[in-house]
Subunit: 321 residues, 2 copies
């Protein structure tokens, strides 16, 4: 079977190239009868738009770029994995495709933007792992390029659209659940102050109770050590900022012979494996919303002020709480 182009379809339907193009891009300017005839021809011939040709003329590629990060060293792998899957899904149904790239640091990433834009005419970017003083958003914003971040702009004004998970709501839900179960002394095991995410997770817990708390770097061992001390202070339950810390807490409780209730964060594979109750981020949903925001930007129907979406996480109940 030889190549089917817009000209083939046109000939087959007895119209001109442009009319076929119109059926595809601005169907309302074509008479209904003609439109149907062309659509039939398209279906019959199995015609598909050649993106390269379209792109050359319009300058748009229907491609979206996302950075894939090295597998997280810690316990929290596969969060990005799930987000990526959701994004690919959402992009597909919007007629877009996801392209991957890697970059060692922010500067390299910005260089990659230039490359992707000039070589591939990329339509938009989705940024993850936003952090304090992130130079990437500025770079993109200055050039008026469409982008959305998954993660809010920590410490910077909300000058662009973003989607994030409400971390505070997550730990608050966890704390509320423990209170409902009758716990009255609930501790918190988190990270050192300063990271936006970590602070929010602590705040959610602090909004409902005021038990003992500790702050350590993420890790199973650090978590175990801190939990050891914490538990001896008397709480019957611990809310943790990550599954790693929660795992450490469980180990500490076992060593101490205590039946401390423990709740983690991120609902990682580890949590599923060991039956750890954990706060789960709605990653597929977040990806979908990112795509929604991007489409608004790309279709030019974005509101004048950027949109911010904050999604509530859910609590996955298992054995540990």
């Amino acid at each position: 079977m030889e190549k089917v182009t817009i000209a083939t379809v046109a000939r087959h339907a007895g119209v001109s190239r442009q009319t076929v193009s119109n059926v595809l891009n601005t169907p309302d300017v074509v008479r209904e009868e003609t439109r149907e005839r062309v659509r039939e021809a398209i279906a019959e011939l199995g015609y598909r738009v050649n993106q390269a040709a379209r792109q050359m003329r319009t300058g748009r590629s229907r491609l979206i770029a996302v950075r894939i990060e090295p597998a997280n060293d810690g316990i929290n792998g596969s969060v990005l994995d799930r987000f990526l899957h959701g994004l690919t899904d959402a992009a597909e149904s919007a007629g877009y495709r996801v392209m991957l790239y890697t970059a060692g640091d922010d500067a390299a990433e910005i260089a990659t933007y230039e490359e992707l834009l000039s070589s591939y005419d990329l339509d938009a970017f989705v940024l993850t792992s936003t952090h304090h003083g992130d130079p990437r958003t500025d770079w993109l914003a200055t050039r008026d390029l469409p982008f959305v971040t998954f993660g809010r702009p920590w410490g910077a004004p909300d000058t662009h659209s973003w989607v994030d998970v409400d971390n505070a709501a997550g730990t608050a839900a966890a704390t509320a659940h423990l209170i409902e179960r009758g716990h009255t002394k609930i501790g918190f095991l988190g990270w050192p102050a300063g990271s936006g995410v970590g602070d929010a997770r602590r705040d959610g817990w602090a909004s409902l109770t005021d038990g003992p708390s500790a702050a350590v770097e993420d890790g199973v061992d650090t978590g175990a050590a801190a939990a050891h001390e914490l538990i001896t202070a008397g709480p019957t339950a611990l809310v943790c900022a990550s599954d790693s810390l929660a795992l450490g807490a469980l180990q500490a409780a076992r060593e101490l012979g205590q039946d401390t209730a423990v709740i983690g964060f991120d609902d990682t594979a580890v949590a599923r494996a060991i039956g750890l109750t954990s706060v789960s981020q709605p990653l597929a949903q977040a990806a979908g919303r990112c795509m929604d925001l991007l489409r608004e930007l790309l279709d030019g129907r974005a509101p004048s002020t950027p949109t911010q979406v904050l999604l509530p996480p859910s609590l996955v109940l298992r054995q540990t709480a």
Copy 2:
């Protein structure tokens, strides 16, 4: 800054468009002096090839497609994640980019191939999760499309190039390590016969010893139950087909008050988190080799018979063995 095309460069260097194109694609036909002059102009203007235009003429996109799977329900998340990262990296340094797609089943995936080929002129595919009677490889092979699988064609002849990890060598290394540590009665906890990967992992263990063994569906609970029985049969060490099973085995050993040595497979986040000794797949390396094979195919310098690459996994020693 306005658009820099090949014509801009040509004007700047005082040559024709075609000469610039030659410098880019077949530098050896251009006189050295001219070549240098053109290269300087390219650098000075920051020129980059427009892939869409190139693609329209050549029919090649320098794009490679990989399917991103829904996050594995089990404990083994992030294996694909790491592979993807490696592939993106390798592709980048070969001048290619990775495009993602999703597909519910093999039929949907084949439909996606058609779409990707006709709309985006995809250059090649990397397939993961190969399985018995995989229709995808046949479809691609019949159409003479370049592809490589990560995972060998289970039960089918080696008619295409593939890269895989030597599962048997992995469990053999684990077993050898246990023997070296003085264990004489080493059991195996694996999956029901029939899956290529699972059988290979069992074979590796069986090649060095002949302790008791069990076969159950993957999972922490199923693993714990099976290990419970297995351990009472007397082995002082267990080689497991997955980290999930290994985790179950550890739980069983603890319940029984035994200090059974345990080794898992895949070196997942869980293993890292709980200190489980595990067999680690060289995913970045596998991705690199996949890309190597693809380049051979794409450059037309592939040997007449397809290449098969079998990579040895490594044993990551931690506390459990």
